[in-house]
């Protein structure tokens, strides 16, 4: 079901990449998983997940871009945890597929820790998990998300359950 049809997925893509994407055939696996929201938003604790390639400078290693440079069909499937209180100057980004200047100015465009803390303070949502998670969006060519599905996303889900999270906002790049 689609509500409104105003967003053009290809608007900001160079023509050659758009054509490439449009040649990819894929059908969803049914049924689509579904966890109904069982409480009002004001009572939900949120977890944040992005594929921006974020990491904590000086705490965690960057994503493995060196291997991607020598093996362009491979992308690092691992993840990094990011504290909700991260300061802009503690943020590192590894991503070879987007310009990272703007997220280095304001993490909230991809991992909205400050906006969600404001929503908690206003009482719009119930809480924000202490830890958010960042993956790096490029998963090889052709993309292979097997390790995300079988290993890393279940680890993130377990961690969210331990933190009492009900809902997750995902922000791909």
């Amino acid at each position: 079901m689609e509500i409104g049809m105003t967003v053009d997925s290809f608007k900001f893509l160079p023509r050659i990449i758009a054509k490439f994407y449009q040649m990819t055939e894929r059908e969803p696996n049914y049924p689509i998983p579904w966890t109904p929201l069982e409480r009002p938003i004001q009572a939900c604790k949120f977890g944040l997940v992005t594929s921006a390639g974020l990491y904590q400078l000086g705490v965690d290693p960057p994503f493995d871009l060196e291997r991607e440079r020598t093996e362009p069909t491979w992308g690092d499937p691992s993840f990094r945890r990011i504290p909700a209180g991260i300061l802009q100057e503690q943020l590192g980004v590894s991503h070879l597929h987007v310009n990272t200047d703007d997220v280095l100015k304001d993490v909230n465009i991809l991992l909205p820790v400050d906006r969600f803390q404001e929503l908690v303070d206003e009482g719009t949502i119930g809480g924000l998990a202490e830890w958010g998670y960042s993956f790096m969006g490029y998963q090889g060519f052709p993309p292979d998300t097997t390790l995300w599905e079988e290993k890393y996303a279940p680890q993130v889900a377990d961690s969210f359950h331990e933190q009492g999270v009900h809902c997750v906002l995902l922000t791909p790049t």
């Binding site: 967003v7 966890t35 938003i41 597929h97 909230n108 465009i109 996303a153 906002l169 995902l170």
Partner: protein, 117 residues
């Protein structure tokens, strides 16, 4: 990712500039935004815009009537299109793009040549 988390008893909402993929993959709940890549929730330091997008995503989460719902946001990107296409891209092409672009151009050329009578 969204599907795996949703299957693990978490209610998810995904914000993306590519609802095209949401539809193909079967993402549980999507808010589509017409923003350049790398700017999923808006422009840096544009707090009101980021907040509007997040509140829209929360509405999708709260009100989605069925799995696979995609709601299109009416938010606009305030930058000339040509500049926006350039500025989100990395300063150097990614390794895979550098490798594939010449091959893809050849394929397109060949495809066009075959179509000519």
């Amino acid at each position: 990712m969204a599907r795996t988390l949703e299957a693990a008893n978490l209610s998810t909402v995904l914000v993306t500039m590519m609802p095209y993929w949401s539809k193909k993959v079967g993402v549980p709940r999507t808010l589509a935004v017409e923003f350049p890549f790398g700017h999923t929730l808006g422009a840096p330091h544009n707090v009101p815009q980021q907040k509007r997008v997040i509140l829209e995503a929360l509405s999708v989460l709260a009100e989605a009537p069925e799995p696979g719902v995609i709601v299109h946001s009416k938010e606009n990107w305030n930058q000339p299109i040509e500049d926006a296409i350039q500025s989100w891209q990395p300063k150097e092409p990614s390794p895979i793009i550098a490798e594939l672009t010449p091959k893809f151009r050849d394929m397109m050329r060949q495809h066009r040549a075959e179509k000519k009578p």
